[in-house]
Point group: D2
Chain length 379, copies 4
């Protein structure tokens, strides 16, 4: 059967632009899908930046104004990989133009923007998804499966960490093409939107909605040079670190913590679920494994199992290599894209959609609010 073409326009050419391009390029080689993405156009403000990027990745054309990209009749899907402060306007315009919209996480600068975006895609009725790629780490998908199979039972505890260490040096600049995540005006927040948003998305997916939180944040380095103008410094507005306590709506207790000041932790995104019947532990630095404790095992041989998530009966893995052969970071994007394409036109479109991501955004906003008020805040 001939595959349906799906013409893609990508906005942004940075780290995520690269990860998404790779996904469009590879997805049909590994997944048998009805749709075939066509890499129609890459868009960014500076032609001298986006042209070599497009050439390298095989984007057929370039645009330097995202409005022009959205106007093009030959584009079916807008994929937003540009900085957070551009998400809202692009997404709303794309939806209004009837395009499908994919958007990098976090959804927006804040929940207000996110709500407007969500209403726009829902009103337009266009397929939409947010790239919370870690849901598509096979081990995390397996965690979801184990919970859905009833292997954990009533959940007592959830604890998540997302630790990095790359901003300890105060000479790391902010703003600019690669370090906008440190600039409050472009990123909206610090680790809360960048890292904890992942943790929260995973938590809600696995456990359910969060009811209330109490939080603290810290900015260890108070001012940083500008990447685009290194002689100037600007006060740092983002949260370098954030920790919060939470209650899920189902009563489970949770702790969340994120920082870029945990020396030696490079991308340590972990979570643990403790339930009546079992427990689960995951660490992104050992992404090919899931730890699982099954209380029903015979008591003298019960123990944490290290599941090597590379077998064909593990999520996504039948599409890849053979048992014992791992996939990597980039494959989470390919898996996500495959899910999106598979869900098109079905009753079960891929998630998280904008509505889901809005819920995560609302938790983020509530966390930052609580860090200011010092009291428990309802989401």
């Amino acid at each position: 059967m001939a595959k349906k073409k799906l013409n893609v326009g990508l906005i942004g050419y940075g780290f995520m632009g690269r990860a998404h391009s790779n996904a469009y390029l590879k997805v049909n080689h590994f997944f048998d899908l009805n749709y075939q993405p066509v890499m129609k156009a890459a868009c960014a403000r500076k032609a001298d930046k986006v042209k070599p990027f497009a050439d390298n990745w095989g984007w057929q054309s370039i645009e330097t104004d995202w409005r022009r990209l959205i106007d093009r009749k030959d584009i079916d899907l807008i994929d937003i990989c540009s900085p957070n402060n551009t998400h809202k306007d692009i997404a709303i315009a794309a939806a209004q133009a009837g395009k499908m919209v994919l958007c990098e996480k976090p959804l927006a600068m804040n929940a207000k923007e996110g709500l407007a975006m969500t209403k726009a895609v829902e009103k337009a009725g266009v397929p939409n998804m947010v790239w919370f790629n870690y849901r598509r780490v096979p081990a995390i998908s397996l965690a979801k499966q184990l919970i859905d199979e009833g292997r954990i039972g009533k959940v007592f505890h959830y604890r998540a960490k997302y630790l990095q260490d790359w901003t300890i040096n105060p000479n790391v600049p902010q703003g600019g093409p690669t370090l906008w995540r440190l600039d409050i005006d472009v990123a909206g927040s610090g680790v809360t939107g960048d890292l904890l948003a992942h943790s929260i998305d995973t938590a809600i997916w696995l456990i359910g909605g969060i009811d209330k939180v109490t939080a603290m944040t810290e900015t260890f380095v108070k001012k940083r040079p500008l990447q685009d103008d290194p002689k100037k410094t600007k006060p740092v507005g983002i949260d370098d670190a954030c920790a919060f306590l939470a209650r899920f709506k189902n009563g489970a207790l949770a702790t969340f913590e994120s920082t870029r000041y945990a020396r030696g932790r490079k991308n340590q995104n972990t979570f643990e679920v403790n339930g009546e019947l079992g427990s689960i532990y995951f660490d992104l630095e050992d992404a090919h494994q899931l730890q699982y404790y099954n209380h029903k095992d015979d008591s003298h041989v019960v123990g944490w199992r290290t599941i090597l998530v590379t077998d064909s009966d593990h999520p996504y893995m039948k599409h890849w290599w053979v048992p014992g052969c791992v996939i990597g970071y980039e494959h989470t994007f390919i898996n996500a894209l495959a899910d999106f394409l598979e869900g098109l036109g079905t009753k079960n479109p891929a998630r998280p959609n904008f509505r889901d991501a809005l819920e995560t955004q609302m938790v983020c906003d509530t966390v930052l609010k609580s860090a200011k008020t010092g009291v428990w805040e309802k989401v």
Copy 2:
């Protein structure tokens, strides 16, 4: 040189009574000390319980009233291993009688009691120590040493967990000889006093004082049968789980969590320190190891080091076996006792003393208060 005899009276014959008896029995075989404890008397209310205990461990006599024990002229040191609600009266009486006082943790039912006890031993000028035995895990002592050597630098983060899973079954009773830790009237609190007190003691020792906290607690099982009268149930007053955010006085951020509902975690007492120059991680379930990350290592070979803490240049280990041969849980008590005996009559008596333990008790009280008020509370 002849060793000085130190006549010990022990109160309590439970799990801790056993651990302490073992320590008195062994300490001089492994440490070269000026003092030689003499196991003079074991004391508990029921003669039929304390007699076989005393016989088994070699206590020379028994008493069934702790006041009589304190009155005995042939006793130099009172060691309190009885339930928490007995600590205050015994300790104060012992101090007033001029006895040295060792006390199991937590110091008391609450800080008010703890303060009275602390004043009593200080007024009497008697040597005193609280058995926060985990300070004497060689790997934790090594962590302290690394921090004191400046290997961690300015501390950004501290995170501690103390997880167990033995009370998930609602049929586990409360009260009685072995389960008084589940009875609020005897224990004073749940995991906060029993487990988090350890975490807090270690944290203060390693990092310094805690300034403020915000906490949540939960009691998952609302009533339990009585161990002494299994047909009756009683509401559960203790905290089954407790988590809190904290700020150290030096500005470092911290998270603490404890529970007895973490399926698969048997005695997982962990902490991590993240500083500018390095990080440390410890897990009591792998007590023979310390994880250490040294940022100064050459960048292509930097990594978390698993230090096998069994060498003669590691804390306490020269007194034990040979490299690669581990010691166990019981040795933390022996190490602590050796430190106490070594410190007697010197300018550097062993710690934590009652004053130190009072500080931990005050943090515990503040945590429990915050869990009720829902706001940040100053210690």
Copy 3:
């Protein structure tokens, strides 16, 4: 600068055909190279098998006779991914036709074949390489770097294992399109050529030549059904398991072991080097890590370091994502291809070339010989 086109003809469409196709497709997106492979033709005997394969991966044409492929003027490079018993004839013909030759491992059915192939490519003067892809696991390349930097010093010991468990079930058939590795007539040997060849290649690369060996082999399942005709069985001629002791030419002692009967080990390819100054440990099931012990570390903090091999100063990693983001199995082929393309026309062409792979083949042959003679055999 315009890239030079390099027209590739691929023989074989199985698991390796897929891995190589992916490499040709991706290499220029991640590496800045003078050469651009062009996926000209895929070749296999059955058109109905190779056509959909070629379509899926973007091979521009197909051939069903490898001799025709070699005859084509528009092909610069022949890449051999077909079963072991086809390597010799194809490689020699390709070399004689002046084509560059890439060949999957093991080089040949035996050293006699391998020698003929090696002479052919050397006589023709054509670039040649054998796909011992694990050299290009970044952690293994890092191991090589540490040794070359003198961090290990005089080597005392080497121990390698390559354990799998997928043939324990006696109903797994042999022969046929996907299970020819179990058929002695097609594979030449069992785990020795398939798995130990990897271990030996790595060992020689890291430590140097092997002088002599003494070996044992076992075939646990004596006959298996035919994949192509399941009602028939055929005696199993391959070695299911093989272990040998060895001496390197430099005097170091070694143990090697491989099996497909190690329940629970999926692709556990490990090696350890013990030297005067340090040690290294690697496990392919945790391929993103290298364990390193540096004897020069201060004695109280020395320990095995877990190096997370994802930083830009680790081999290959600057071409991929960011610290903490792993690559996977498939990337070893891409890294190898990049090295091959980078080496073209330089004084340092990529290795292992056929001559190197012949050395590995000779060790394999000697191992199998010793398993029969029961005595030490010189390589």
Copy 4:
């Protein structure tokens, strides 16, 4: 019930003398036994050495001639902790005197001596045991239990390592009170008798008898100073390293390796069993854990389980502390002693007895023989 007194005479005051003394001192405090060892006499040639040792450990008297000790009527049991070259004469004399005999491992300098010893104790009909203490690591006892429960099934593979690194420095002397293990005349062999004997004892216990072996040995440092006369050197006669391949009588394949030149391995005594139904892995450097892979687990959640061997239903652990609280190196001796005392006068005396240890000795001898002949040797 009153315990029966068992009067012990200990020969040797070194590291093992200390470990055994500790065992006699503690065993009745933790195990409920019919017998109560009485520490009657410690014996060594030099009174000035053995006197303080005896005083420290509470031995009631000393002897300086082991013959006198054996002559004493008040001694029931002779425990041999002196160097290997003294085992034979003492054991035979003790047996002839009708004493029970405990002997440190290895049993003897060689199998010839061992056979004479075995015949002596069997002829005398005296209880006898050899201190292969690692059988009493709870995790190793659990491994035995799992095998006996049929959880592993038909065994395909066994692999054992025993790695240390303390003799790399060529200035480490040989001979003398603490380094006699490096002196061939006193020790009989190097790592084969000291370390591999442990590995072999465990292997035979778990899997069964060994049929044949092929081995290699190496002596890296060719001469060493004398501990007692450091200006003199003596050629090193022991094996610094030894590796061998083996076949069990049941057909399973095995590899064994031991060295004191594995930088970074302090006491890494490991074994792995691979069977049809499951696998087991143990590492003495994490002695509180046993790794277990159960092939019958559901395929998407199968994985290596880390069993924390601290629960009351694990071997020996009900005698010690509570779940999550580990025991250490010294407890293996206490557990062994408890087993010995429990077995006295029953139909199931504790093992390994001298006959068992002789079998291990014969394997050791055969290994050393094969290392010389270069061929497979039958045990």
